[in-house]
Symmetry: C2
Subunit: 228 residues, 2 copies
C-alpha cells in the first residue's frame, strides 16, 4: 500500500478525559475558586455525566494538586498558601535549570524558531491587553523548553505543576486587574536561551523565578490577611 503520511490516531476521548479538561479549565479560570466544595451529585448533573467518570476524573485532578479529597467527607478545590507558592517556585527553578542543562547542546533550528515564535505570541497578547491569552502564552513559552529536551519524566512533572501555576497567575490577575506576573523582561530570557553562556542562563532562571515568586507571594499574603 502507498505509505501515506498518516500517524496513528489518538483514541483517548472518553467522558472521564472530557470531565478532567472541563474541571481543570473551570478551576484555572477561577470559576471555581479555591476552597469551593465539589459535590459529586451537583457536578455530575451540571456536566450531564454520571458520578462514575466524574469520580475517576477527580482522582486525576487530585494527583495534579488542583483538588483535595477527604474520604467520606468531601472534595474541595485546592487552597492556596504562601508555603505552597514558595515550594512551587523553588521547584520550578530546579526543573527549568535541569531542562536547560539537558537541552543546551541540542538546541537546533526548530527549537530556536519555536522559542522566538512563542515570545512573539506572548508579546502580542500583552500588547492586545488580552490577559487570559498572555497567561497561556507565558506558560507555553516555558513549555517549549520542556517539550524539546526529550525527557518525558521531566515534561510530565512540569505538566503536573502547570495547572497550579496557571491558577496562581489567574488569581493574581483577577486580584490586581493588571498584567500577571512575569509578563515583561522575557526578551532577556530569550536572548540568554539562544546565547552560549549556560551559567548565565541558569542564573537568570533563578532571578526570573524569584521575581515571579515575589509578585505572587505578595498578593497571596494580601488575600489571606483580607480573608481573616
Amino acid at each position: 500500500m502507498t505509505p501515506f503520511n498518516l500517524k496513528p490516531i489518538r483514541k483517548e476521548r472518553t467522558l472521564r478525559s472530557d470531565v478532567v479538561e472541563q474541571l481543570k479549565e473551570a478551576i484555572i479560570n477561577g470559576d471555581l475558586p479555591p476552597g469551593t466544595k465539589l459535590v459529586e451529585s451537583q457536578l455530575s448533573a451540571l456536566l450531564g455525566v454520571s458520578r462514575g467518570p466524574l469520580r475517576e476524573a477527580i482522582r486525576q485532578l487530585v494527583d495534579q494538586n488542583l483538588i483535595e479529597s477527604i474520604p467520606y467527607t468531601g472534595t474541595y478545590v485546592a487552597n492556596i498558601s504562601v508555603k505552597a507558592i514558595q515550594e512551587l517556585y523553588s521547584f520550578r527553578t530546579e526543573l527549568e535549570q535541569f531542562a536547560f542543562k539537558l537541552i543546551w547542546d541540542k538546541r537546533d533550528k526548530a527549537f530556536q524558531e519555536e522559542l522566538k515564535l512563542q515570545l512573539k505570541k506572548l508579546t502580542s497578547a500583552i500588547k492586545d491587553n488580552d490577559r487570559e491569552s498572555a497567561i497561556f502564552e507565558e506558560l507555553e513559552l516555558h513549555n517549549v523548553v520542556y517539550k524539546h529536551c526529550g525527557h518525558e519524566l521531566l515534561e510530565q512533572t512540569w505538566q503536573r505543576l502547570r495547572g497550579r501555576l496557571h491558577l496562581y497567575f489567574t488569581l493574581h490577575q483577577k486580584a490586581h486587574n493588571r498584567a500577571g506576573p512575569l509578563l515583561d523582561a522575557h526578551d532577556r530570557y530569550l536572548e540568554l536561551a539562544l546565547g552560549d553562556d549556560l551559567n548565565a542562563m541558569l542564573e537568570h532562571i533563578t532571578e526570573h523565578m524569584q521575581q515571579g515568586y515575589n509578585k505572587v507571594e505578595q498578593f497571596v499574603s494580601e488575600i489571606k490577611s483580607n480573608t481573616l
Copy 2:
C-alpha cells in the same frame, strides 16, 4: 481544654486505597511482571471488589507510571526500557541534589540519628541476605532525606518515582539472584551527608546515581535482547 499534642487522625481507609496498595505491592514484587494485561473483571473478582473502586485505583497507579492505560483497549503493567531508566536516574540525581541543598543548613540531631539508624537497618538486611528488605531499606534511606527537608512538593514527586525505582531493583535482583544495585558503599554516602562539604555531597550523588544506573541499565539491556 488541655491542649494535648494530638494530631487529627488520618481517615482515609477505603476500598480504593486498599486496592492501590495491593496492586502496587504486586507490581513492585514482580508478581505482575511488566507488560501483564490487567483485565478489570478478573482483577475485581480476585480482589473481591467491584470494578468501580478498582478503576479509580488504576487511575492513581497510572499517575505513578506503574500502569499504562489505553482507552477501550486495556491497561498493562508498565513496561521497562533503557530510556525510562536513564530518565529516572538523571531525574533522581537532580531531585536528591535539590533535597540536600534544602536540608543542608537545617540538619538537626533527629535527622542525623534517623539517617544513621536507617543505614544500620540496611546493612543488617544485607548481612542477613534478606534481599527484599534490603531493597526496601535502601529506598527508606533516601526517603529520610526527602522527608526531613520540609518540601512537600519535592517529597510528593519522590514518592511518585519510588514505586518505579522499587520495581527496577526487584527485577534486577530476580534476574541476577544477588544483591540489588547500590547495596554497598553507602557508608561514604552517610559520611558525606553528615559532613560539612555540600559540594562533595552533591558530586557524590551524581556518582552514586551513575553507578546505580549502570547496573540497572546493563541488566535491562540483557533482558531486552533475550526477549527478542
